[in-house]
């Protein structure tokens, strides 16, 4: 088994337009996703939804004092809105799950596995 992080990117106007029913629907989609994960012989080992990127602060550490700026590291049309940590047997299973993960764009990244004792 290996762990993969699913980084979920979406346009953020969702936050402006969503109504109560929209939130309920969204929750249902995530429940369906978690059921699909279990059915695929994988498991959800972590994950969070994030507040919108306008609430982010970015700290850059360079040569001198750390610089704090308002907003996300990368200002993109589709912003990072949440993530899952999924344990799956291989990349094929992970990619099949990403295809049913409720987000517009999903980046799948393997977690760096540390040797024992590190």
């Amino acid at each position: 088994m290996a762990r993969y992080v699913f980084l979920m990117y979406d346009p953020e106007d969702w936050h402006d337009t969503v109504d109560e029913q929209g939130v309920v629907d969204e929750f249902r989609l995530h429940e369906e996703f978690m059921t699909a994960v279990v059915e695929a012989g994988a498991s959800v080992v972590g994950g969070e939804a994030l507040e919108r990127s306008s609430t982010a602060s970015t700290v850059r550490r360079g040569e001198g004092d750390p610089m704090v700026t308002d907003g996300p590291f990368a200002d993109t049309k589709e912003a990072l809105g949440g993530f899952y940590v999924i344990e799956a047997p291989d990349l094929d299973v992970a990619l099949h799950l990403a295809a049913v993960c409720p987000a517009g764009t999903i980046e799948v990244r393997p977690v760096m596995e540390m040797p024992d004792g590190v």
Binding site: A2, P89, D90, L91, D92, L95, V108, P110, E113, P115
Partner: protein, 404 residues
Amino acid sequence: MAALDEVFRRAWPVVVASTARLTRDLDLAEDCTQEAFEPAVASWSATPPDNPAGWLTTTARRVALDRLRRDAVLARRLPLLVEPGGADEGDPPPTDPLRLVFICCHPALARESQVALTLRLVCGVDVPAIAAVLLTGEAAVARRITRAKQKIATARIPFRVPPEEDLPARLDTVLTVVHLAYTAGHVAARGALRDDALTERATALARMLVRLLPDEPEPPALLALVLLTEARGPSRTTSDGDLVLLADQDRSRWDRALIREGLVLATAALRHPRHGRFALQAAVAGLHATAPSWSDTAWAQIVTTYDALMRRWPSPVVALNRAAARSRLEHADLDEVLHDIDALAPDLAGYPYLPAARADVLARLGRSDEAARAYDDALALTTNPTERRYLARRRTELEPSDDR
């Protein structure tokens, strides 16, 4: 010697694949295969063993075991190939090379990496030759191959033949890569018009796919397309090495045996209820191969076949070929064809056959000045010296313009 080359070519993917099952590391498998092949290439010219692939596999696996024992500590730290069927047990199954093809052509790898890995690991092409195919430097190719192998191990791309529900899509990627490799040999980027070593390896790979996936309709269709194209090989250049287009080729020099084999495969592929885009492309190649001459070609049928392709697998290249075929119909409206070609320009920027097709239509319309400019555009995008000479010659042969 040619027979021995053939032996090595067939054995290479078998040895890499079954060594990979042991090492569970593609890099090490490739190294050990190379190490097994080198002494064999040197000593077998006299007496090759009865079962060359078996001999080479045994040798490569022995080398691998030695290395693994020596580097036991290192081996434990390597991220290993994921083998859903369990690790190495007993004799390698005959479908091993197939797993190698599917891992090299995994959709999570970039197309260039798929091509580079397939040529290196499945076809045994060396890095300088791959660099020529991908129009890039040797160091860049070596880096690309290394990174792709790292991704396979780190992201755990599994070493297996995909399950049935994924097979059509995964196979399509494989066939696309094989076709790209063949095309890169059919019109080489540098040197002579063709790179025979590359077309032979791509053809051999297509044959291997037919053998190992007997129930799939598209591998024989791709093989048919390749063979029907290959049949024209000798007539594509003059004795001076100048390019001869299909329109002007001496059809008596076409390889009848290849055409027969291609037609049988193409016909069977087209009858298959699940036939795909390669069956239709093979159909077009078959219509050309059976035409008595360029003017007596079944252009209407060719256009119909391109229409079918466009309905299910639309692509700008198919649209361009369709426009070119339409320009050959009786009473073709060349202005309309030109309009269609121009509409494809944004999608095919950098594709030399678009300005070349445009130049041809403009010349037939008597608009020589514009045709000359289109030939210049095509020349600027064409690297193959034989094709460049052809385009330059066509440009000088243009009649003075009718319109001025």
